[in-house]
């Protein structure tokens, strides 16, 4: 159907769809219009902005790396192993997708604060504290980012042609070789998509981070936290940082469009 036939035969569809597009486009446009373009380099060069940019880069990459390290085995287990309570485990893993991040932060506090279920032991035994540390920020980001990696890679593992794995095994390859030489290349697009999605989610994380790791400049004040707190003191810096986050998100969507968002 061409656009002119759409307008003629389904005017209501076209109208509602146009509303939806405007709903997304207008706020983005407002951000672009309000952006202090001429002072952008200066705003992004302020100490707070540079600290936040650096910290966000470090924490989001760490969270993405942790998501791969722990998420890949988990996704494989969910896709390939029949075990009791598998759907329960899957539900648990997906929970952070729908849980408000602040609630995630409160839950992390309950578990890993100095008075927490696990955190108290860590602190008593090793004097180790996660709250208000960069490690804590990484943890909060991983908590919300990991599910994105797991569902993407699990879907990749389920949809790949398993016969190639079986053939490799009958030809004498041991399970490790099969995984490395057959499975991984087959699910490479999902791996990339899952990692990028997890990274982008970690980059944008706010609620769990501020609740669990606090808001310390240079230690736990990531980009979204800086945007939120600079909004009154330094709105131009806040808008400049928002712009950075927006551009990054846009790049992620465009880069993933062919690999994941359209093909599946």
């Amino acid at each position: 159907m061409t656009s002119s036939t759409l307008l003629r035969r389904r005017p209501l569809t076209a109208l509602l769809a146009a509303f939806a597009v405007a709903f997304f486009a207008i706020p983005l446009l407002a951000l672009l219009v309000r952006a202090p373009w001429s002072s952008l380099p200066e705003n992004l060069g302020t100490a707070e902005a540079r600290d936040a940019l650096r910290l966000s880069l470090v924490t989001s990459c760490s969270a993405a790396a942790l998501s791969v390290v722990f998420g890949l085995p988990l996704a494989w287990c969910l896709a390939r192993v029949e075990f009791p309570g598998r759907s329960l485990v899957r539900g648990l893993v997906l929970l952070p997708l729908v849980l408000p991040p602040v609630v995630g932060g409160v839950a992390l506090l309950g578990a890993f604060s100095r008075q927490g279920l696990v955190g108290a032991r860590l602190y008593d035994l090793f004097g180790f504290q996660l709250t208000f540390t960069t490690a804590g920020a990484v943890m909060a980001e991983t908590f919300v980012a990991l599910p994105f990696f797991v569902i993407t890679v699990e879907a990749g593992l389920r949809s790949m042609d398993r016969r190639t794995e079986e053939i490799a095994a009958t030809l004498g390859a041991d399970p490790r070789t099969v995984f490395r030489r057959v499975t991984l290349p087959a699910i490479a697009p999902s791996l990339v998509a899952g990692t990028v999605l997890a990274w982008a989610r970690a980059l944008g994380e706010f609620g769990a981070t501020v609740t669990f790791a606090g808001n310390i400049v240079g230690r736990t004040q990531t980009l979204p936290l800086a945007v939120y707190l600079q909004l009154e003191s330094n709105p131009e810096v806040a808008v400049a940082l928002s712009l950075v986050l927006m551009v990054v998100s846009l790049v992620v969507i465009v880069a993933l469009r062919d690999r994941w968002l359209v093909s599946s």
């Binding site: 389904r10 209501l12 569809t13 509602l16 506090l109 604060s113 100095r114 008075q115 504290q129 709250t131 208000f132 609740t211 606090g214 808001n215 310390i216 400049v217 240079g218 230690r219 736990t220 004040q221 939120y228 707190l229 909004l231 009154e232 003191s233």
Partner: protein, 281 residues
């Protein structure tokens, strides 16, 4: 689209639901917004015995007023059954920015004069606000004060302690900066976690792992035994001056004025005093 029978029926179905929702919303909106719909006649139960007040008022108040104003709003609604007082709490600086940005508010109660002046400059309030309470700052630590923090200097000197402070622009952030300055100390920025408002600043100690915070006395009192309160030398703590003002162009100015009168009344003072607020200076 499999769930829909025939082309177009899905869109029509959705549109019908949307329209029905809009109509429903419209009618309920009317019944609560239209004064005559709920008023049953006769004088109000209010002590002033004047014209009956109706409708909704939105009260934007500093987060440190949360508990006192929740009580005051409930009591006000009992005195004026036709009025629903909706409260919106946050840092005064943020609330001022919201109101300036067009957020609906019929009256504001802020923890400093500067936030009201922001609105006055924008022509959104026509007074500098009516002073109605004062507050002071204290240091709070974990119960039992494990780090032995007994003064602002000790707070600055405890090099392992994470200190929770209000956002620098929030009134409580400005006051705590002044407190530290008067004490002649500063806290290294890599141990300072900044919270959005006064109550969140306290929460970092009472619920989280921050070792200490500089907070309002009233918030510290409300936290009970979840924190230990350390008084600062009189004179070190700046006095927070709370002011209340009606927002110009409020859709329900009579009710907003009545609420302000209620806060300034003896009963209002008593509720505030019970929460630990001092009388206006």
């Amino acid at each position: 689209m499999q769930g829909c029978n025939g082309p177009g029926s899905c869109v029509k179905g959705v549109a019908t639901v949307l329209l029905a929702g809009l109509l429903l919303w419209g009618t309920t909106g009317c019944s609560s917004g239209d004064p005559s719909a709920e008023a049953t006649g006769g004088p109000a139960a209010g002590s002033d015995g004047e014209v009956e007040l109706t409708g909704t008022i939105t009260v934007s108040a500093a987060s440190s007023l949360s508990e006192a104003f929740a009580d005051l709003a409930a009591e006000f609604s009992r005195l004026h059954p036709g009025v629903e007082a909706v409260t919106n709490f946050g840092s005064s600086a943020r609330l001022a920015a919201q109101v300036r940005g067009g957020a609906p508010a019929d009256l504001v109660a802020f923890a400093d004069l500067a936030s009201v002046q922001v609105l006055a400059e924008a022509g959104l309030v026509d007074t500098d606000g009516e002073p109605f309470a004062t507050n002071e700052l204290v240091i709070v630590t974990k119960p039992g004060n494990p780090l032995g923090i007994d003064s602002p200097a000790a707070l600055a000197g405890a090099t392992d302690a994470i200190v929770s402070l209000c956002a620098a622009e929030a009134p409580c952030g400005i006051y705590s900066a002044e407190l530290l300055e008067r004490a002649g100390v500063s806290i290294a920025s890599d141990r300072v976690t900044r919270a959005q408002n006064a109550t969140a600043t306290l929460g970092a100690v009472s619920e989280g792992d921050a070792d200490a915070a500089i907070v309002y006395r009233t918030d510290a009192m409300a936290a009970g035994d979840r924190v230990e309160v350390i008084e600062v030398t009189p004179g070190d703590s700046p006095t927070a001056e709370y002011v209340i003002a009606a927002v110009s162009g409020s859709a329900n100015e009579p009710a907003a004025r009545a609420f302000i009168d209620f806060v300034l009344s003896d009963r209002g003072r008593a509720v505030l005093a019970e929460a630990g607020f001092g009388p206006p200076s």
